[in-house]
Amino acid sequence: MASDAVSDLSTAFAGKAPPLSEEDVARAQDRRRILETRSARRPLRLLWLLAGPGVLAMLGENDGPSMVSYATTGATYGIGFFIPFILLTFVMAFAVQEMTIRLGAATHRGHAELIFERFGPFWGYFAMGDLVFGNVLTLITEFIAIRAGGLYFGVPASLSVGLALLLILSSLAFRRYATWERAAMALAAFNLLFIPAALYAHPSGAALAKAIATWSPLQGGVNAAFVTLVMSNIGATVTPWMIFFQQSAVVDKGLTMADAPQARLETAIGAVLAAIAGIAAVAAASPLFASKVDVSNFSNGADFATALRPLLGTTGATLFALGMIEAGVVAAMTISTSSAYAFGETLRRKHSLNLDFAQGRWFYGAAILSTLIAAGIVLIPGAPLLALTLTVNVIATLLMAPALLLLLLLVNDREIMGAHANTWRANLVAGTIVGALVLAGAAYGVVTVFPNLLGGPP
């Protein structure tokens, strides 16, 4: 049921048939299938049909820089404090993404669209600036991951990047949201390759259980490197593009508030799967910690896979490298789509994966151009890849605080949310997350400017 401001607009067509677009017809076909399944009381099929935006946001965020962050965490700290910390970050991610489900399903508008319409262009352009800045940097690092994974197998950088580019751009040729979504989900399943890779590291179940129960050990203590990894691990889980992507995908898929329970469930399933894959990456890289391998000079994910080969064996290292390639490809698909949705919403151009190329030239153009730019930059020789990869997640964490505040304002806006606005409990959780992100950012700033403050190596 739409809320006041939204239903006021929808009743503007009362008494006459509203003009229909091909996009409406495509979306209605998907909706019809969902309504029929709901009427037939087939809960698992309904969940399957409604799954997508949440799983893709969560597994998409287990991207190249995220998996490198997890691997760096495992190699630097082993199994300990960061295992429950990663679980906590995914709880945070779920709390944030759940709000985007309600916003999209109640208003049927994307996030950028709502910011521009409700708060005006001043805050809209700032939000877009943050998104574009973060997305372009992140997209570059996705191709770094793809390139790195390819190098492990001896594939030249230009070939691996070119093949990935072909795959990502081909996915846009479906011109149907539902098909694009299923293709992306099929690829995202390969994120779970990190689980068998971790099994080759023979992680101790007792050590994992102890880490989760006690948030320890934290060998090396709290220093600048620790704060950077805290920031990187948060940025590996909660980022602005996820907000924009999931809300737009909810709208493009045509979800309504009646679908919210299933949408929440699929987002929770995505969060659990992504948390398991993230922890698996930490566990897979933990033998490097036990062997006291210095990863600070590693330039990319291929270095991790190569260093892990004598410790995990060829199969384990190969799975790790393949996981890196998957992480980069799926995230490049979702992040470029997130940029395209936001671009279309900002410029009030048609924005949907249900459009044909002629109607959606701005939408597809933004996705294609951003992907081409990122792929091109990665092929520049001598780029500082690991430093860039870790920095991207830190930037994502910093940009999250204002993005979350705008999300909170929108989801508390009763004129557009009606009865689906946040409860005080949801506001308490989200407010705590904003505060924690600001504090983490401030701590990072302090230890960067004063690296000796916490002692230990920066």
Binding site: S10, F119, I395, A401, P402, E415
Partner: protein, 61 residues
Amino acid sequence: MSREAELIGALEPAQLTAATERALPRRKLGRGMTALLIALRLYIFIAVAIVGYAFVEALTR
């Protein structure tokens, strides 16, 4: 009723592109909230500058 018109009944009226193309009314932000947004914006400018400094320093180390 045409097949398309029948099909479109599966959508809520507010989901139609004709409805979403119409902008929602603008909301006025209070002073406190505007101040908080400006403060976070300043925080971003300072924090990103620090990240940039750390990145460059890591490259020259």
